[in-house]
Amino acid sequence: MQIYLPIAEVSVNAFLLLGLGGMVGVLSGMFGVGGGFLMTPLLFFIGIPPAVAVATEANQIVASSFSGLLAHLKRKTVDLRMGVVLLIGGLIGAAVGVFVFNYLKSLGQVDLLVRLCYVVFLGIIGALMFIESLRAIRKMRQSGGVAPAKRKHRGWVTALPFKMRFRTSGLYISVIPPIMVGVLVGILAAIMGVGGGFIMVPAMIYILHMPTKVVVGTSLFQIIFVTAFTTLLHATTNFTVDMALAVLLLVGGVIGAQIGTRIGVKLKAEQLRILLAILVLVVCGKLALDLLLQPGELYSIGDVEGH
């Protein structure tokens, strides 16, 4: 069944979109990630204009994160205070990101920016995850499953001013690093159409030294507000949020996520992580090839700005 998307102005198969939503939903449920970093490139591949894909995906992430946040709030695994600090940074970042996005759109370089961001971040994160999960699996085999000792190294983060107590996380640190992390994630959310969980979760663990159990809930809290803000900014400045596209994706996505969560419980953490790393690297590789190989069509047609 073909469906005509009112904002993207293309006609696509509704079942393809439901299927994509479902597939990415399963993966995001399995790995506990938002799935934006997979969905946005997939939307490029099926011919949705990048500007529409990025803006609409931000909207979809609100939906897929919301049910997750509810579960975490119930389990009290959300550090609201830290979430608000990250959020302040995130909102600033999102505003900067949308501004950069619109500026580059007028130069005709927005495609390049989005793709470059994907290649760089997916490449780094994928490679790090891959190496670390390989190491973890090797260690498990050698030492018979003893967890590695926790490092108590706090470093430069403790030396900064404007300290604040975060009771849920059991931290007393400066607000500067969390705000910086928030800004970075906000910029990425606006430019790449992702929630940014894949950057924020490692940053919370390795830079802010937050306890692992509050990391996911707190990042979901921040992601919902930042992506909601991004959606509004894109909707009011670029008019690129496609509601019909978002609805189809999120119907598939929320169902898929529930199934994925069930599959995820049955797999081991290391196996999950290495699978996710491979997936990230494959998407990254495909995008990198598009940039490196000579495209079949060197020319592209764009709208005149202000039209």
Binding site: Y4, S11, A244
Partner: protein, 253 residues
């Protein structure tokens, strides 16, 4: 007899369009299967049948008569960008503003255009798609790119032999409108051609617009972007919340 046929055709089709009031010896009476294309939520293209008769005020002249039908979508300025290899990757470098390029352009003819239409006549009436894309001479490569890309997308079509002409008096043709249409007035022109010259031109408009939900969402997104954005968020949150509570119920039951 021919006049009678034309008259009957006109009566039979409620959409029959009266010919232009130019004093020509041969004129077109045109009918369309639809004067409106509605883009609904499940729109996946449309087929338009154009048919008509040739009305004569004088005996039929010598030479074979041919019919060319050109349908043009709304013309918009576009930017055409060219990729070049810089720092090892392919990025957009040069760009050219094309002042007018129709969003859709289909030319159908009864015989190959080269055989029935002179260069002069084509220039004068801007019949083929390459005459409808306006750029400077020095930027011909960019204009060609527009023609190539849009031909590959099915937006620019050249259907030679797609117009059937019977008895030098009746003609019919179907034009496929693809799913990725943009809104606006589409101008259909019917040319009668004899001896490589255009002897008559008839013009009508096909209105292409979004209707229903498509229209509503599009208008809302442009006129009330904030409300549209908030509505998108509300739907997203409702869906996320709805799905998780639905699954919780399922698990309990």
């Amino acid at each position: 007899m021919l006049r009678l046929a034309a008259f009957l055709l006109c009566l039979l089709t409620p959409l029959g369009v009266t010919a232009q009031t130019e004093a020509v010896e041969e004129d077109v009476v045109l009918g369309l299967s639809q004067k409106r294309v509605r883009i609904t939520a499940n729109f996946d293209g449309s087929e338009i049948l154009l048919f008509g008769a040739i009305k004569r005020n004088a005996p039929q002249p010598e030479g074979e008569l041919d019919v060319i039908i050109a349908i043009a979508g709304p013309s918009e300025p576009v930017v055409v960008r060219r990729k070049e290899r810089r720092f090892g990757i392919w990025i957009n470098t040069e760009s050219v503003d094309v002042s007018a390029a129709p969003s859709f352009y289909a030319v159908s003819s009864s015989r190959p255009l080269d055989e029935i239409l002179s260069e002069n006549a084509n220039n004068q009436y801007r019949i083929t798609a390459d005459r409808a894309v306006w750029t400077l001479k020095s930027e011909a490569a960019f204009a060609e790119a527009v023609l190539r890309i849009r031909s590959n997308n099915g937006l620019y079509q050249r259907n030679e032999g797609a117009v059937e002409v019977a008895e030098q008096a009746l003609f019919r043709s179907t034009v496929q409108m693809p799913a990725n249409l943009t809104e606006g007035p589409y101008i259909a022109r019917v040319f009668l051609v004899r001896d490589q010259k255009v002897i008559s031109l008839h013009q009508t408009v096909i209105d292409v617009r979004k209707v229903g939900l498509e229209r509503f969402l599009f208008n809302l997104s442009r006129e009330q972007p904030l409300i549209y954005g908030l509505l998108s968020l509300a739907i997203a949150i409702a869906a996320g919340w709805g799905a998780s509570s639905a699954f919780r119920l399922l698990n309990r039951g």
